[in-house]
Symmetry: C2
Subunit: 141 residues, 2 copies
């Protein structure tokens, strides 16, 4: 079980962005340099974040990205969904009545993985971007 860097970078970049509090757009170039993430890769990520209306783009010189919602309203769940970082512990399709082994009943562990998935999603549902920023400021003091 690991987290992919796409999900990791998305959150990292958004925390960086959110710290500027919507005063003015932040360029991906700056984020790239500050966070050590490839610019081209960031572009892919922000393209997805924009489509899901998590950020807004400002084109042209001095442009960049701004949060499209309040930091409090952006949960990790939303971010992960936007960049396709899904939690997938079940092998089978959840809706299907078939098990992961191709049999007509769910496998011995189906229920366990389902619980696990919920357990993890709870965590993501509870954390907002605002929480992360606060946490970051506290640590600096």
């Amino acid at each position: 079980m690991k987290l992919t860097s796409k999900g990791r970078y998305a959150v990292m970049a958004l925390v960086d962005l959110a710290k500027f509090n919507n005063l003015n757009p932040v360029s991906l170039r700056d984020i790239s340099i500050r966070q050590g993430i490839s610019l081209d890769y960031l572009e892919q990520i922000f393209s997805k974040l924009r489509k899901k209306e998590i950020v807004q783009s400002v084109r042209g010189n001095q442009g960049g990205y701004v949060l499209n919602k309040k930091a409090k309203e952006i949960k990790l769940t939303n971010i992960f969904e936007a960049v396709d970082e899904k939690v997938k512990t079940l092998q089978c399709k959840k809706e299907s009545k078939k098990g992961c082994n191709g049999k007509s009943t769910k496998c011995l562990t189906h229920n366990l993985w389902d619980e696990l998935e919920n357990h993890i999603n709870d965590f993501f549902e509870k954390k907002s971007l605002e929480d992360l920023i606060k946490d970051n400021i506290e640590r600096r003091l």
Copy 2:
């Protein structure tokens, strides 16, 4: 974030095995058929489980595997550790003082992933093989 089938199979096979309550060894061949898992793959998995003393092997004709501890004492944590299914949400090395970006401080999200890792491991630490079997019996009623 997904669970690999190695971890999934390990747990699935052990639940199957545990249901026989140590009365007599269960052959991998049987588990393979019942659970729809490749025999060769199961052998790899059980080799690791044996090295970590989670199961005991009985060689020869009518041989197979038996649990080496009480089902209550086998936590998911132990199983996952045995088959190298680790939860890895951090990018950096935990001990190192360097961040995942190569910089000398931890990245903006380091703490978040660390929390997440603990959150997930809590789940694994709480679940024993016995819990899974009970859960399975209840469902059948």
